[in-house]
């Protein structure tokens, strides 16, 4: 398989001339960065918040895990040599583990600084409220600085050595170990879900055997899980370096598509029945924000317009539904049923899309982003204003919004399972609409627009009309989310529609994979489902306070390592990896060189 780009770089270049260099300085630099990370985790309160959360009961808690992770990453990075002239891939040798140890030691010094800061005669707590006596106790107990050795230095040094040593292992083994660790830790955090899920299918005993209620996983099952996951990952893993190929779309066959579609549909219909309250509640949140993300995906992913105000359409959907259905709506209260109000709400959102879209479609790029951001704040402030207060209730919002009457029952926030079903229906509609539009004349016009607006216009595309259409479709999809949100929560306030929500949804789309529906779904499940929505807790509730910090970290990491997203669209991958693409364009899918008209088309580009 390893046929592509990297040619064997002249192996005969005097191999014995220079032994693997010993670079303790790298240990210092990496260690210093680690110390900064450690100081951050200690002073922002994460460590103290995470300490009581047990992962492997009696063995490992989340706070210690944070330390271990810092140690592992620092140790692993410190043991890797940077390429230098003439030496592309310098292997890690056992001696490099000493560098890792050094890096771990430097990292641990971060904790010393924190303790010194707590003991300092100046008042630092007014700026860093977490530099508290409790933190000191957690770090050193009643002892002096020596206490740090056991609480901080030991785990970090141990992890650093392990991280460094892992570089001595083969790629396949290391990857298997990473997967094993991830699976074990992942399962240790989801006791709540496991209880919910297993309890519902009569496997409460299994839950009892593996987890401790309201805590983590038991040590023995953890070891077993780790062994099984690592073994499986090793067995299934591939030899050799990771390799990514950049080809034209690997089109799935119609049969594969149908299988995937049917499986997804069946899962969507059957699974909610087995989920308990909590998982269903989580998934409803995922679905509602996914609708918004799908709407934004049309605008930004398909038509390439950076819209920072997507919350505005969601807000119009939610407020429209609130005014039309709530019997206590301040002035105008027709108290319609949800279903009658829905088409009106959709129409209102489409109108909002037109009204916001019309003045801004003449703008491009950054300017469009700024103006849409402004518009979304204007809309929120209008709902908040005293001027429109008689209609929208100003800061109090609108209360007692009824649920969705579906004949035999009424769906609302107190019935997450029913709510999930109806959310799934709307998500399916949104996915279907997005997909059909993408593969059509309209979708091609959007793609052309995204690539090069003026050329698209010169090729006969009415750019104004196409852009407006994208805005309107995006607004309608987001308004589905808003309408469901109103019925679920029962109350709408202006503050539910802050700018932050637009940003979070944008992160969902970017991290998932812009312009690609599976990507957007994965993004919503990972970010909203696991970390939590703007105000809604996610699966890992202990991250709640630090959600935005983690969002930011995830975004930065993705931008650096995988800017095309978790599940990227082919087009975006092409855009971001143009070089690799033009390289691999010379090979067919089996890795054979395509040798045609090489005599005439000697590339001048």
């Amino acid at each position: 398989m390893a046929t592509t780009t990297t040619p064997e770089v002249a192996p005969e270049v005097a191999p014995a001339l220079e032994a693997t260099p010993f670079e303790p300085r790298r240990g210092l630099t990496v260690g210093a960065l680690g110390a900064l990370a450690l100081i951050l985790v200690l002073t922002n309160g994460m460590y103290l918040t995470f300490l009581p959360r047990e992962l492997v009961v009696g063995v490992l808690d989340l706070g210690t895990l944070a330390l271990l992770l810092i140690g592992l990453i620092v140790g692993s990075r410190a043991a890797v040599h940077l390429p230098r002239p003439g030496r592309v891939d310098i292997p890690t040798v056992p001696r490099d583990v000493v560098v890792s140890l050094l890096a771990g030691a430097v990292t641990s010094l971060g904790a010393v600084l924190v303790v010194l800061a707590i003991d300092a005669p100046w008042d630092l707590r007014s700026a860093f409220p977490n530099l508290s006596p409790q933190l000191r106790t957690a770090l050193v107990g009643e002892a002096g600085l020596g206490g740090l050795l056991t609480s901080i230095a030991a785990p970090i040094l141990l992890a650093a050595v392990l991280g460094g040593a892992s570089r001595l292992l083969g790629r396949r083994v290391r990857r298997a170990l990473v997967v094993g660790t991830e699976v074990t830790l992942g399962l240790s955090m989801i006791e709540l879900v496991a209880r919910d899920l297993l309890g519902n299918v009569g496997l409460a005993a299994l839950h009892k055997a593996m987890w401790v209620t309201n805590s983590g996983i038991r040590p023995l099952p953890a070891v077993a899980l780790f062994a099984v996951a690592t073994g499986l990952a090793f067995a299934l893993g591939r030899r050799g370096p990771r390799e990514r190929r950049f080809h034209a779309a690997e089109a799935r066959t119609t049969r594969q598509r149908t299988v995937v579609l049917v499986a997804a549909l069946a899962a969507a219909l059957i699974l909610p029945a087995f989920f308990g309250l909590i998982v269903n509640e989580l998934l409803v949140n995922v679905g509602i924000f996914l609708l918004m993300a799908l709407g934004l995906n049309v605008v930004i992913g398909y038509a390439g317009m950076l819209n920072l105000g997507s919350i505005a359409f969601f807000a119009v959907g939610a407020y429209g539904m609130a005014v039309l259905t709530s019997p206590t709506s301040p002035t105008f209260a027709p108290a319609l049923s949800w279903w009658v109000a829905l088409p009106i709400v959709v129409g209102l959102s489409a109108l909002a899309g037109l009204l916001i879209g019309a003045p801004v479609i003449g703008l491009r790029g950054d300017y469009l982003a700024i103006v849409t951001l402004g518009f979304s704040e204007i809309i929120r402030l209008l709902f908040l204003s005293d001027w429109l207060g008689p209609y929208f209730g100003a800061a109090q919002g609108i209360r007692s919004i009824p649920g969705i009457d579906v004949g035999f029952t009424t769906l609302s926030g107190i019935d997450p399972r029913g709510m999930l079903y109806i959310t799934i229906v709307f998500v399916l509609v949104a996915v279907y609409v997005s997909k059909q539009l993408q593969d059509s004349r309209v979708g091609r016009a959007w793609a052309a627009l995204r690539e090069d607006e003026s050329t698209a216009q010169a090729m006969g595309i009415d750019t104004q009309q196409s852009k407006l259409l994208a805005f309107v479709i995006g607004a309608i999809l987001a308004s589905f989310g808003g309408a469901l949100f109103a019925a679920k929560v029962g109350t709408v306030f202006p503050n539910s529609f802050a700018l932050l929500v637009s940003i979070i949804i944008l992160v969902v789309v970017i991290v998932g994979g812009m312009g690609h529906i599976p990507g957007v779904i994965v993004g919503a499940v990972v970010l909203i489902g696991i970390l939590g929505g703007p105000r809604q807790p996610g699966l890992l509730q202990e991250f709640g306070e630090y959600k935005l910090l983690i969002y930011g970290a995830v975004l930065i990491y993705m931008m650096l390592q995988r800017p095309e997203g978790l599940v990227p669209s082919v087009r975006r991958t092409r855009e971001l990896h143009a070089e690799e693409f033009s390289q691999d364009a010379w090979f067919d899918r089996k890795g054979r060189f395509i040798d045609d008209d090489a005599d005439t088309d000697d590339g001048k580009a």
């Binding site: 034209a248 059509s440 793609a447 010169a458 067919d588 005439t600 590339g603």
Partner: protein, 263 residues
């Protein structure tokens, strides 16, 4: 009847008078070349004619309708398509998709048709793809087979130029404006394209205006040659006439011994 008739076309950018009252006409079925030194206003002439910039003065009558000041998409819809001097493809769309975009203005199905997959939508999608393949087959094996699914960004320079012509052809124009179609091609590719430009008329029935620096191409394809210099038309006539004209030699061609030096 003239297909395109331009009278007194003027355009200036700030203090630069790119076009200072150019007259131009072309009849159906003609192939006319526009030549002239760099900065003569050739590309500005195309840009104004195709609606990228509105003219400052003058009339542009295309198929007996004044199109001056219309946006480019409406001009393309009326049957006037162009290529660009610095190739402007949609780099991350495939070859086939690029050409299918060209069909946009000839189809009518909208968002509803797409969502509901109406019969009109299916028919139009089928026709669009068939038409795109047909247009690409004009270039023989150059843009066929596995190339159809490749992104435009990986094509060789010559193929990008060909694809741009294909995309313009897909808009089903009456008049094609080609801006330096052979720039950056080697002699063999140039000869091949010269022949294709002839076929654009004989096989496809297009009327063609071509900006070209390669005098061999100009001599081979054009019925008439228009020489621009400093935004004014120096002279027009058949190749034999203009190639011996003293003012043209002075302004552009140079003395016979370095006759092709400008290419």
């Amino acid at each position: 009847m003239a297909l395109l008739e331009i009278v007194g076309l003027k355009k200036s950018f700030g203090g630069l008078n790119a076009l200072q009252g150019v007259d131009f006409r072309i009849d159906r079925g003609e192939i006319v070349s526009i030549i002239g030194p760099n900065g003569a206003g050739k590309t500005s002439f195309f840009n104004v004619t195709s609606g990228i910039f509105p003219p400052d003065a003058g009339t542009i009558r295309f198929k007996d309708e004044d199109i001056a000041g219309l946006p480019p998409n409406l001009i393309t819809e009326r049957g006037l398509a162009r290529t660009f001097q610095n190739v402007k493809l949609f780099p991350n769309l495939t070859v086939l998709e690029n050409v299918m975009v060209g069909q946009h203005c000839r189809r009518r199905s909208g968002a509803w048709d797409a969502i509901l997959r109406t019969p009109r939508f299916r028919r139009e999608e089928r026709e669009t793809e068939e038409r795109a393949r047909e247009v690409l087959s004009f270039f023989g094996s150059r843009l066929s087979g596995y190339r159809l699914e490749q992104p435009a960004s990986v094509l060789s320079y010559a193929n990008r130029r060909r694809l741009e012509i294909a995309r313009a052809m897909a808009t089903e124009p009456d008049l094609l404006l080609l801006d330096e179609p052979t720039a950056g091609m080697n002699p063999r590719e140039t000869a091949e394209l010269t022949e294709l430009i002839g076929k654009l008329r004989t096989e496809k029935g297009f009327t063609v205006v071509v900006i070209e620096h390669d005098m061999k191409v100009v001599a081979n394809v054009s019925d008439r040659v228009v020489v621009l210099d400093h935004g004014v038309k120096l002279i027009e006539g058949d190749y034999a006439t203009i190639s011996t004209d003293e003012t043209v030699i002075e302004a552009y061609l140079g003395r016979p011994e370095s006759k092709e030096g400008a290419a």
